[in-house]
Amino acid sequence: MTRNPLVGELPFPEAARRELSREQLRRNLRSATHTIRDKRARMVAEVPDWEELRVAGSAIKADVLARLPELLTRFEAAATAAGARVHWARDAAEACAIVTRLVRETGTDEVVKVKSMATQEIGLNEALEAAGITALETDLAELIVQLADDTPSHILVPAIHYNRSEIRDIFRERMAGTDPDLTDDPRALAEAARRYLRERFLSAKVAVSGANFAVADTGTLVVLESEGNGRMCLTLPETLISVVGIEKLVPTFADLEVFLQLLPRSSTGERMNPYTSMWTGVTSGDGPQDVHIVLVDNGRTATLADEVGRQALHCIRCSACLNVCPVYERVGGHAYGSVYPGPIGAVLTPQLTGVAANRSLPFASTLCGACFDVCPVRIDIPQVLVHLRQQAVDERRGHPSAERTAMRAATWIMSAGRRYTRVLRIARRATRPLAALLRRRTVRRLPWPLSAWTAERDAPLPAGESFRDWWARSREGS
């Protein structure tokens, strides 16, 4: 069996340590995230009613989640009436099986793909490959990652961990027909990829896409992109199969007004993205005549059942939270082990898989709150992180844990003023000889488990007199 695209091989702290040691990666990430972050900030500052838009986006998504079954049925009816065929998939395996069958029925063994998180999430490329079908990514960054036999490290910029000379090397080594003298000039790189892809667009019979939005009233699917390669896939082939998470719905066409303002500014830092494609079933004589929509659950219903956690389903995959996250900026997407990295990955992934499969992700944050501030649909990511930490802890109740013992002991001490005062005095007395010996109040090395602190920084020793002792001496006594 292939690896679950939502579960990494290593827990986050270990995977993060591995990624941190890659100096070039850290430089690439820092410059890329800061560039997009600054662009986003400029574009958002232009919009006087940005906060109202965020509130509206969040309200629409909350409404969708509150009546999801009704809206899904409405979407199915509208899309079917427009000539699309709607399929339902409970999980990744079902979704992959449906797509594989649909491709097989066309008799082709090659499909072109529009950049899509849902197909990454279900591991579609690997499933198709196992069935003897080649799936070609047509988004430039996805293509780079695919050629390198790598996995994406960012939702929007999957190849964010590569710089342009690394990309040139990948093209020269792995993209058939590439000029061996190709330079790392961005325009030359784009041109080389364009030439490579163009032939495939013209011969492809089947395209696979995702969707940014699905309009319940009309059965319309919407894809936003920058390069136009998606538009090629959505219009040229005979058959179009779209894999869509069930939370991608918006009730009415007019609701797109809010999201088409929120998404481009939040994601690429543009006022409007270059290409917005919308299609409603089949239009006779224009575009694909065989249109399928695969609606995927894959853990979303379980997420919906959690009152605090369900807001993660508001996500419109803009990746603004990744670009401002100080943790993501240092470690990149691969450390999270899931196709959804960064702050949204830390709250969405454990809910889709169940916390037991991703116990370390809710702890992969300092709770600094930068993600919440930029999220266009106001997902309170720190709140959900804390909520999931609790689930991760609760799930292990009954297993022995040094951490739980320490937390309980701390609460026990803190639950009685006198006990607490006594412990403060003991801490102070016990460290006094050390302070006298060192003649300073910092130590460089402490024994386990405090060694985890002193591995990265010095530690302070208790003060000569606690505040409460000072208060008692100077106030109550007088």
Partner: protein
């Protein structure tokens, strides 16, 4: 007005000077400060690490201890954020006292209406706005306004000031490598200012930052901004 001081456990044990500074500033302004000795800790570490059940008794204890006060002041952005933002979710009956709990700069600027507390501090300093103060309490420029009114203080801007220092409570030990990488960048930014002191509204972040500075041999010392407002150094 009855002002209750919530010292916080970190300050009680490690940074009593910060607590003394708060008392000095408020008394100099003519207010009486009380210190109810039954107080202990806000329970932030437990709550943020997923131990909700262990945090609840501490929330209850806080609400009981400070029930009779018109205002509760704490020299710690993250503890105040825990009380004001976290407590009502943990234990709804704490909402009232939680709403009356202030970080020092909020009490001074918003409640007492003071910006110039009459301090003097002839040193070059920089200010790190800690995440909870910045994004949960929305302290905004309150600490800076207080600091700008301090005589002879040279306040220099910290590059990338709003970036997290990498502390994050138990994050610092659970993900110590990432925490260390963030700390290194924060320390480099601080060193670039050539400040003698790096100030903040939270001694837990300053413990982390100060530990990084001292480890790297940097001359800049961490200091809670209350101690500047009190008019003296540590």
């Amino acid at each position: 007005m009855r002002i209750g001081l919530f010292i916080t456990c970190v300050n009680d044990l490690l940074y009593p000077g910060t607590g003394r500074a708060v008392v000095r500033v408020l008394e100099r302004l003519g207010h009486r400060v009380e210190f109810p000795v039954e107080q202990t800790c806000c329970g932030q570490m437990q709550a943020n690490s997923g131990y909700r059940a262990e945090a609840v008794p501490l929330a209850r204890r806080f609400a009981e201890t400070f029930a009779g006060y018109d205002a509760v002041v704490a020299p710690s952005g993250s503890c105040v954020a825990m009380v004001r933002d976290g407590y009502p979710r943990l234990l709804p009956e704490t909402a009232e006292v939680a709403a009356r709990t202030y970080e020092l700069s909020e009490l001074l600027v918003d409640v007492l209406g003071v910006v110039d507390v009459g301090a003097r501090f002839p040193h070059r300093v920089t200010y790190h706005p800690t995440c909870h103060g910045l994004r949960m309490l929305r302290l905004g420029d309150r600490p800076m306004r207080l600091l700008r009114a301090v005589r002879d203080l040279e306040l220099v801007e910290l590059p990338d000031a709003e970036e997290c220092c990498g502390f994050g409570g138990t994050f610092a030990v659970k993900n110590s490598d990432v925490s260390g990488a963030m700390l290194a960048d924060k320390c480099a930014a601080i060193r670039a200012t050539d400040a003698e002191y790096v100030l903040a509204a939270d001694n837990s972040c300053l413990t982390h930052i100060g530990g990084g500075l001292s480890r790297s041999g940097a001359p800049t010392r961490p200091l809670h901004y209350a101690e500047i407002l009190a008019g003296g150094g540590r």
